[in-house]
Symmetry: C2
Subunit: 178 residues, 2 copies
């Protein structure tokens, strides 16, 4: 997964994968089929990890606003320094392969839906707790938030400075939370 993450699909060559998996060419093909299948597995794992993390951060039993803060703090972290420069496998894959690879399309699409649903859930709970700013509607705010964090990952590729990311995230949340 790490190799695809760092380099992208096209830029990852077989030798890179062999070095990363410590497998021989034959064993790799026996275990995973071809490069494309292996990439799909890596993508699936990346998605599963991201969603699992969200399930913890945005847990129902938790204070929803705290959950959202933790969720955004995670993005700040992943956007800082070396982490930021590494980027996001999902965003990179979306830009590189979406619209040209049906398998990828399905995964990216459903990931964004799943992510949006989780954020919308947290926002709904925040609203019920009276913690949302006036006029904020959970479902559209969730879409906004998803766009915002994915955009963070894009600009974080070139300017991964933690302090600015954190301030931006705080200012963002201030617009939706009270």
């Amino acid at each position: 997964m790490g190799v695809f993450w760092s380099r992208g699909y096209h830029a990852t060559a077989l030798p890179d994968l062999l070095r990363a998996t410590k497998l021989s060419r034959g064993s790799l093909y026996a275990a995973f089929g071809d490069k494309h299948s292996l990439f799909l597995r890596a993508l699936d794992r990346y998605i599963a990890i991201a969603l699992a993390r969200m399930d913890i951060e945005l847990d129902h039993r938790r204070e929803p606003v705290d959950g959202l803060r933790a969720y955004l703090a995670g993005y700040v972290d992943r956007n800082s320094g070396a982490n930021g420069r590494r980027g996001c496998l999902l965003v990179a894959t979306a830009m590189e392969l979406a619209g040209r690879d049906a398998d990828v399309d399905r995964r990216i699409g459903s990931f964004f839906r799943d992510m949006e649903a989780r954020v919308a859930g947290a926002l709904s709970r925040a609203k019920a707790a009276g913690r949302l700013a006036d006029g904020v509607e959970p479902s559209s705010a969730a879409r906004i938030l998803v766009c915002f964090v994915e955009g963070l990952r894009v600009v974080g590729k070139t300017a991964p400075t933690r302090i600015i990311s954190q301030a931006t995230v705080d200012a963002f949340l201030d617009r939706f939370i009270r």
Copy 2:
């Protein structure tokens, strides 16, 4: 430019460029040097067009809120249907090459700075006109807006539906404008 835009750098092969430029192999190399130089020229043109468009949309003499609306409307447009599926050369390049190509790094970085400066300018003028919501600070709001629109381009790759984009953009602006 169009070829790199549609396929990305690595996925664009020489034959694609020959077809697109209607040039022979020799002429292309005589005119542009190598693939990398040609790509840089395409990227520069893309950036110049984007900034020129912003200069019109966010013109000083215009009502700043109208300008911001027009600016965001442009993103809605570029994110809908086939346009959306084509994606954004800048975002794709940032994810594919940033951190591995110094020439690209410089261009992407300065583009985001230029874009943010223009948005911040419009927001400042809006603030002076009393059109900003309470507690909105132009410079941090500009960073938020840049992240938001770039994130739009990412999720727009898989779900480029105009109505939702428009509603999301409207709801977003509602948080900052009055």
